[in-house]
């Protein structure tokens, strides 16, 4: 399968966004580049930018491999992308507001009722709750893939607690350390103000009754969580407290944290804990990661929780296939960014098709994430396909399927020089009284030749993503 390479398409030659970089690259001594690659790894290990892989006993802390060839997007391409992303994010928030209030979209028959009612990501506790400033999903990571010069698709909307933004920031930091001269020659739009934007954005959605500057905190499940580094990093960069459930308690109708001087009120909580662990009184009673009673405080309008509980209903893979309808329903316009055609296996015709073509398709669990529980048909053995078909037939509504797209490639540096590898892109979007998108995002790259799975838990790496100031 010949994929579109973002640097060097086979026929048209070097693409324009890469021309200045390519000039620079040609002047470099390959040995020096290899050295820089090793420098990068040292920097990451030293600063402790690691992540934990679930289910692997040894190496509980691993680095996400970093590739030193940047992924470059022109100013024009970026403008088009951001329009599409903004539209989509508006629709996501409007959908959430609707789904937890009047449910117009269900009444209009644009999204089937049972898809919501039976969905675990739908939280009945949120019905009728309007979060401070009316924002449900404050921080969104939209996964985008490209398949040709002008074709971009949304692969997934991450509207719960998207991770990876610390890699976007550290990747840039590392690149600027390794190649300062590059940034003098090429005008790349900065991403490093993300933490300030995030802080401002969170402050802007504080509860109405907040007196003075709001107290913001990041809620982490703890230092053994795979994304702990990021939680600490963001709290640190924003200059706010990093709290755990054990630090928090409801005091006088507010959520408060235990400090060396007693309990102090929190107004905005950027939580990196899943819905079900948030409040043991409302959700999982065995959760030690949350705050007993926080949902009551929330319903009383005395704390902002970002992202709001129940936002998962908007990025659910079963809902995903309805996103074109959802965007059109709430914005009155066709979606600027398309969806990948998706077969809902809950529908008999689709199931039949998927089972017949399983070796050509990518089949995903509706509630899965991180690349776990999915089948990439063309890369799977016959036996794997057969086994997966059985699982699929047993519980069709648990799966969706998509064609195996030829994701665009971008070169990485290997022992044998540059080699194309498949990439995707996750830009980060902040929603408050406005929508802000940091120019860039996290480019994930499948390091194995031919592989389409870019998830870090499955051997993916990352690249610095440049949006050119042109």
């Amino acid at each position: 399968m010949a994929a579109f390479d973002e640097m060097l398409p086979e026929i048209s030659g070097l693409r324009k966004p890469y021309s200045a970089y390519d000039r620079w690259l040609k002047e470099q001594d390959p040995a020096r580049l290899t050295e820089k690659m090793q420098d990068a790894e040292r920097v990451f290990r030293k600063t402790g930018i690691t992540f934990a892989v679930y289910g692997e006993q040894e190496a509980s802390e691993r680095l996400i491999p970093f590739d030193i060839v940047p992924r470059i997007i022109s100013g024009n391409e970026w403008r088009r992308l951001t329009q599409g992303i903004e539209q989509r994010v508006q629709a996501l928030n409007a959908f959430l507001d609707d789904i937890y209030h009047r449910q117009e979209i269900l009444r209009a028959g644009r999204v089937p009722k049972e898809l919501i009612a039976k969905n675990e990501a739908f939280l009945p506790e949120m019905i009728g709750v309007r979060p401070p400033a009316g924002v449900y999903t404050h921080i969104i990571g939209v996964d985008i893939v490209r398949i040709s010069e002008n074709e971009f698709y949304v692969l997934e909307d991450n509207a719960r607690t998207p991770s990876g933004v610390s890699y976007m920031l550290e990747n840039r930091e590392t690149m600027m350390q390794l190649f300062p001269e590059l940034f003098q020659q090429i005008k790349v739009r900065p991403v490093e103000n993300y933490p300030q934007l995030l802080r401002q954005s969170l402050a802007a959605v504080r509860p109405q009754g907040t007196k003075g500057a709001p107290t913001i905190a990041v809620l982490t499940p703890g230092s053994f969580n795979s994304a702990y580094f990021e939680h600490a990093f963001l709290a640190d960069q924003m200059g706010v407290q990093l709290v755990e459930g054990q630090d928090l308690r409801v005091v006088d109708g507010h959520v408060a944290m235990r400090t060396t001087e007693g309990y102090k009120q929190i107004d905005v909580l950027y939580r990196r804990v899943d819905d079900s662990f948030l409040d043991p009184l409302t959700f999982r009673p065995d959760s030690a990661l949350g705050v007993p009673g926080i949902m009551d405080v929330y319903r009383a309008g005395n704390i902002t929780i970002a992202n709001a509980p129940g936002t998962g209903i908007a990025d659910d893979k079963a809902i995903y296939s309805y996103m074109p309808e959802i965007v059109e329903f709430y914005t009155g316009r066709k979606a600027i960014l398309g969806n990948i055609p998706t077969w809902r296996c809950s529908e008999p015709d689709s199931l039949k098709y998927v089972l017949e073509h399983i070796d050509e398709l990518v089949v995903k669990e509706v509630h899965g994430s991180g690349g776990y529980g999915m089948l990439v048909g063309p890369a799977a053995t016959k036996k794997e396909c057969e086994d997966f078909s059985k699982k699929l037939a047993a519980k069709p509504s648990n799966y969706i399927a998509q064609p195996t797209l030829a994701l665009s490639t971008c070169p990485i540096l290997t022992d044998k020089g540059l080699a194309p590898r498949h990439v995707d892109l996750r830009p980060y979007v902040l929603v408050s009284d406005r929508i802000q998108i940091v120019p860039g995002g996290l480019t994930r790259v499948a390091l194995k030749e031919g592989s389409l799975v870019v998830n870090s838990s499955q051997g993916g790496g990352t690249k610095d993503t440049w949006v050119l100031d042109d």
Binding site: K46, T47, A232, D236, Q246
Partner: protein, 313 residues
């Protein structure tokens, strides 16, 4: 504003960094004794283990007090909660938890110490390499201390860190003295023999004070001077008085900052006053062992009070 949990993490991070280094120092002193004296080496290793508070755990695992066994147990055994390896690992876990309170330099120095010691202590230490391993441990902890002092803001974060360092250090010095208190007593009949000289040097060496002692006192080791040096000297960085000088100072800063004084202020103040008023003669007259036992008990109580007064849990 500081989370109680963060204060707790800072406190223990520093206690464990201090402990990691103290273990290396104790092994160093034991090794010196074993090298310079062929007899009674096992007795010496026994007192090293007693000073480390690890004798009972050691004898469960080993029957021989040999350099290899003791070094292995105190430096690299991860089943020993106080070994250098466990200590540095615990220190790093705490540092990870309180990472937002640390400068990048401090975090990186702890992380690098952990990485390098983990590598170095992965396999049993060849006896020939023991001196260089001990040096490396002291160097890593010195680097942590250096980046900590060099970059941290002098605020409550610093205060809680220092409380951990000095509570641990005071405990360590007091234990070293208590294990050997009998060789410091003037009533012992073989005072002044070469044997005593070795013992005394070993005490000083285990707090890295064998050279500085001579700058302060006469060249000859004299038990009352050694005790004076380790208990009452204001300038000796591992003496009990020195530790309490800083403990009371950092507690005072916290009290001023927060505008509130607690039980821990009273406890630390009492010990400080007792040390300031005491002479080594009084301590010997009242009983060195009793003095040290009381000190260790009060020091533990101070740690508990700090945890409670500042809502560590």
């Amino acid at each position: 504003m500081l989370l109680g949990r963060t204060a707790n993490g800072l406190y223990w991070m520093n206690r464990y960094i201090e402990r990691a280094e103290n273990m290396a120092r104790l092994v160093d002193a034991g090794l010196r004794m074993a090298l310079t004296r062929t007899q009674n080496a096992s007795e010496e290793w026994n007192s090293v283990l007693l000073s480390a508070g690890s004798d009972a755990a050691f004898t469960q695992k080993y029957s021989d007090y040999t350099a290899a066994n003791v070094a292995d147990f105190l430096l690299r055994d991860t089943s020993n909660p106080s070994s250098t390896m466990t200590s540095i690992e615990t220190a790093r876990n705490n540092a990870r938890m309180v990472r937002t309170a640390l400068t990048r330099e401090t975090w990186e120095s702890i992380n690098e110490a952990w990485m390098s010691l983990k590598r170095m202590l992965a396999k049993p230490i060849d006896e020939r390499d023991l001196p260089s391993v001990l040096d490396a441990i002291k160097r890593e902890t010195a680097l942590i201390r250096g980046s900590f002092y060099g970059t941290m803001l002098r605020n409550e974060i610093f205060d809680f860190s220092q409380l951990g360092t000095y509570v641990e250090r005071a405990d360590n010095t007091a234990r070293i003295l208590d294990v050997k208190y009998y060789v410091l007593l003037p009533s012992i009949s073989w005072v002044g023999s070469t044997l005593d000289n070795y013992q005394w040097e070993s005490i000083l060496r285990s707090v890295s004070a064998h050279r500085s002692y001579r700058w302060v006192y006469e060249a000859d080791y004299k038990p009352s001077n050694i005790a004076d040096y380790l208990i009452l000297n204001v300038r000796m960085p591992r003496s009990l008085t020195f530790c309490y000088r800083f403990l009371t100072e950092h507690l005072r800063f916290l009290g001023d900052d927060y505008g509130e004084r607690h039980a821990c202020h009273v406890t630390a103040g009492k010990t400080q006053a007792m040390l300031a008023a005491g002479s080594i003669k009084d301590i010997f007259d009242a009983g060195l062992h009793e003095f040290l036992a009381n000190f260790i008990r009060d020091n533990i109580r101070l740690g508990d009070e700090i945890a409670q007064d500042y809502r560590f849990y």
